[in-house]
Symmetry: C2
Subunit: 147 residues, 2 copies
DNA sequence: TCCTTTTGTTAACTACGGTTAACATTATAT
DNA sequence: ATATAATGTTAACCGTAGTTAACAAAAGGA
């Protein structure tokens, strides 16, 4: 289990990579409002955890394990965000901020239950849909969160 | 703003005091599964923040400010716990664990919205009840969470 | 009372996650 | 091609929050 701080770095790396292709230490530092040495430490730590591949002065690549974890983290974020925004009715920005924090502390089980609940309440699918963060999503849910 | 760790100490102090009367460093250490030096540091820190009164080898007393903050922390815990247990349907123990974490990261606004939502869903009161963590609770809610 | 046990404090250490300053490397522009 | 700019790394440091070991104080029992 990696720390919450490292999860944030991993998430950011995944997002920047899917959005911008190649990314640099500086990009991560800018996005996360932290210093380059902090990023440097973090990526070395992520590397030790086999979540990214990295050689000094080289390029940053996610391992399969890293990519899966990043996706799971984002999935959890989406679920919490949706609940805060569309069920509780928080403003978008506040829902984002809260989801960012909450996603770091809840377990998979809670995430799954929250997902099912939110989707049921919002009428996006019926209760039979076997939604699970670690499994396939139902079609309507996929459509719902597609970019 | 004190840290999450200190909030936990403050909460524990409040709980132990209301349950057992006088409390000692050892009691807190036992309850929180940590060492006595950790407790010692924490209470000195809480003292600097004017949340407790304490003199070396003396008794631990909450200030008014400390008591209010402790109550607010517990209030938030209750709200999140109720949501997890009775709305999401988590097992009691899991709801407790999750609430413990989540209460530390959500804002007052989210707490209030979650409280209103939960109480509405559970049919405990109508929407007009001006529930607010910083204000009076409605009678039915008071009765609901009374020991 | 005095010795022993319990309780509390202090000192020195660890790990994490951040920082700045200095330096190394890579990339870019002329 | 080389000087300069941008980027990345390292070293030394800070604060928080925890630890163990050693010691001090308070409480209790004979």
């Amino acid at each position: 289990m990696i720390s919450k701080a490292l999860e944030e770095y991993l998430k950011t790396i995944y997002l920047l990579k899917t959005q911008n292709g190649n990314i640099r230490v500086t990009d991560i530092a800018n996005k996360m409002n932290c210093s380059k040495p902090s990023v440097n430490k973090a990526i070395n730590n992520l590397k030790e955890n086999n979540l990214i591949n990295y050689e000094t002065y080289g390029t940053i690549e996610l391992t399969e394990e890293g990519e899966n974890l990043a996706k799971k983290i984002l999935e959890t974020y989406d679920i919490v965000y949706l609940f805060f925004k569309d069920v509780l009715g928080l403003e978008e920005e506040k829902a984002e901020q809260e989801a960012e924090e909450v996603k770091l502390v809840i377990t998979d089980e809670t995430t799954n239950k929250l997902a099912r609940y939110t989707h049921k309440v919002l009428g996006l699918y019926n209760l039979d849909c076997a939604y699970d963060v670690n499994q396939e999503r139902c079609r309507r849910c996929k459509r719902r969160t597609a970019k």
